[in-house]
Symmetry: C2
Subunit: 118 residues, 2 copies
């Protein structure tokens, strides 16, 4: 179990907080290329294993990775749905803003046409 | 100026850290519906104005919002490019993972066909 203490924060909050750390983003990048054991993931980092495992726990709590035991190793996989949820949250704010801008532009164009009709 | 101290962290890190807070996400949601003055943005929050302005500074440093002075007010706008950058970071990890899975699936299908040809 990589999971840390129970966390009552909304999952999207945990996802953003988890991605606000360079070690954790590097783990996500590594796992995007395929599953990896904890020790293989930890190898590039000059970090004590317990600290590294804590980072993995944060990623697992945030739903960004899942892990399973295979023999004597723990293998981690990316869980793309948490990435997709966070992407959708951001895209939805952005699209709302963009569609408002489109309506504003249409309104200005309409007003301009009406004026030139005078 | 809402900006806080200079921050040497990569912008993507600041974007994720900025979005890991419920007040700041609520500001982004509010601004997705249109520009708003600082005092109008602050109104729904039971928070001292200096603390609220600090949240806006974090959002501005992360490139998520821009602000301008209009008479005696400061008006904030959403800056969709920071959202788009963070979305693209996540989508790129997710797509790499998904395309690897597609290749794996194709490989299994091919192996299965070759076996049944035996």
């Amino acid at each position: 179990m990589l999971r840390s203490m129970p966390n009552k924060k909304p999952l999207i909050e945990q996802t953003f907080a988890a991605l606000a750390d360079p070690t954790r983003r590097a783990v996500i990048r590594a796992l995007s290329e395929g599953d990896a054991t904890v020790s293989r993931l930890a190898a590039p980092f000059d970090m004590a294993l317990p600290s590294f495992t804590q980072h993995l726990g944060v990623l697992e709590d945030a739903g960004l990775i899942v892990s399973r035991r295979e023999g004597r190793s723990r293998v981690c996989s990316l869980n793309p749905s948490a990435l997709r949820n966070a992407e959708e949250w951001m895209a939805s704010q952005r699209r709302q803003w963009e569609s408002r801008l489109d309506r504003l532009e249409a309104h200005i164009a309409k007003t301009r046409t009406e004026k030139s009709d005078d």
